[in-house]
């Protein structure tokens, strides 16, 4: 370990690992701190990702792929199913291994990694962040850095300590409960989604295959719903009704900050990436791919700033992110607000009309168009998604 680093990354999830890697690739010194004992564990995720989202950063490897996805099955409250086919759309991962491999790419680029290091404060001089305070095996320590990158996930506090307003409004928090269960007989190439009041009001319920009859089964509901009924009670209800005897291998809680990116994701000496910056796709709740993109942009810019000896350069990160994905997430957020507020009857109607379309023409675009019959104002927003 050095006594000072150019860049310290806090949190070793997908966003942190990509920030560390892209910074290290610029030839600057990088340390990534992780509070947990192991990178990649515990896994709080449905683990679905598009192939393109993965391959921008790492070549596909069967070692961390548990299922190859070709279909989406969208299920309405009355039991009707709309199936959309894609070819080779994506994967269900084994994130425990995937996150570990991502961290290894950062290490291979020259970044150092320290686990069991819990960051509990920032060093700040003249209103500029210049390092971190952390607890390591019971000892309180400090480390200086030119730039700190907060990749500390949904529970992020780094930004707040730097004076950025980062707490999530509880209505924007998708509160999730999930089990990984076995003896679940479903198609291993299909992601199953369930919509409606009984499953996950204002959100969705998922069953994602992991091969060998194992599946991630869970849901997310807004804190607004959680006020009345918890995610766990919806999950228990679903399991009792559908898989009462399924052995449960893991059960977890988790949160997804399901909204647009924070207004400000950099300020002198500090940048935020991944869930900490609210870089999750608000429509799907997926944050692995977008977090890696955010991390890579921040890491690259931070590395450049150190190399040029021009630390202000990190402030260009907000705009770079906005242009790459932030702007698109604003559109997704509007669509989400339209779709997830549909009544049960509306979901049923959309599914029935969709199934009248000839099978080979049932694309995601057609599904959206069908949805629009009920909500024409969404048209403009959806058009934008397919255009940008």
């Amino acid at each position: 370990m050095k006594i000072e680093y150019d860049i310290i990354v806090v949190g070793a999830g997908p966003a942190g690992s990509m920030a560390a890697r892209f910074a290290a690739e610029k030839g600057v010194s990088v340390l990534m701190l992780e509070k947990d004992r192991d990178v990649g564990y515990p896994v709080r995720c449905g683990e679905a990702i598009s192939k393109a989202g993965v391959e921008e950063f790492i070549s596909s490897d069967e070692k961390w792929i548990t299922a190859h996805i070709n279909k989406f099955s969208l299920n309405s409250p009355d039991g009707s199913e709309a199936v959309v086919e894609f070819n080779d759309a994506g994967y269900v991962l084994e994130r425990r291994i995937f996150d570990y491999e991502l961290a290894k790419t950062a290490a291979n680029a020259g970044a150092e990694i320290l686990t069991r290091a819990y960051v509990n404060g920032l060093l700040i001089e003249n209103d500029k962040v210049c390092g971190v305070k952390y607890e390591y095996r019971g000892e309180q320590k400090e480390l200086k850095a030119k730039i700190v990158i907060g990749a500390d996930g949904v529970e992020s506090r780094i930004g707040r300590w730097a004076g950025l307003k980062t707490h999530i409004h509880f209505k924007d928090m998708e509160c999730c409960a999930q089990v990984t269960a076995s003896n679940i007989k479903i198609d291993s190439d299909t992601l199953y989604f369930y919509f409606g009041q009984q499953y996950a009001p204002g959100g969705y319920f998922w069953v994602f295959p992991k091969g060998k009859n194992i599946a991630n089964i869970g849901l997310g509901v807004s804190g607004m719903v959680g006020k009345k009924r918890s995610a766990l009670s919806y999950l228990n209800n679903f399991m009792d009704n559908n898989y009462p005897a399924a052995p449960v291998l893991t059960s977890i809680a988790g949160g997804v900050p399901s909204t647009v990116t924070l207004k400000k994701i950099s300020s002198p000496g500090i940048m935020l990436v991944g869930d900490a910056a609210r870089q999750v796709n608000p429509l799907s709740g997926g944050g692995i791919a977008s977090g890696m993109i955010g991390g890579s942009i921040a890491g690259r810019i931070a590395g450049e700033a150190v190399k040029m000896n021009k630390l202000d350069h990190i402030l260009t990160y907000d705009k770079a992110w906005h242009e790459r994905l932030g702007k698109r997430h604003e559109t997704f957020e509007r669509i989400k607000n339209g779709i997830y507020n549909f009544s049960d009857e509306k979901f049923n109607k959309i599914s029935h009309s969709f199934n009248k379309i000839p099978k080979d023409k049932r694309t995601l675009g057609r599904l959206f168009t069908t949805a629009l019959i009920n909500q024409p104002s969404l048209l403009v927003d959806i058009a934008k998604v397919f255009v940008i």
């Binding site: 509880f170 607004m224 988790g254």
Partner: protein, 72 residues
């Protein structure tokens, strides 16, 4: 004796034995009043305003609102 929040007695109670350490409550707390380590969680009493946002957000019902107050 009760634990003291920012605005009177503390009425928020975490059941640590049941917690999954997922961070939902930390993310929504407007006062930065929850400390979460790998497998340890507690409320920083003097920052908490008893707003209950953490209670509503906990996916597995581990935080409780206790209007009687939480004893020391």
């Amino acid at each position: 004796m009760f634990r003291q929040a920012k605005n009177g007695k503390l009425m928020i109670e975490i059941l640590p034995d049941k917690c999954d350490f997922c961070g939902c409550c930390v993310g929504v707390c407007p006062e930065d009043a929850i400390e979460l380590k790998e497998a340890e969680i507690f409320i920083i009493d003097k920052r908490c305003t008893n707003c209950a946002k953490c209670v509503w957000s906990c996916p597995i019902e581990v935080i409780r609102f206790n209007k009687e107050g939480v004893s020391l």
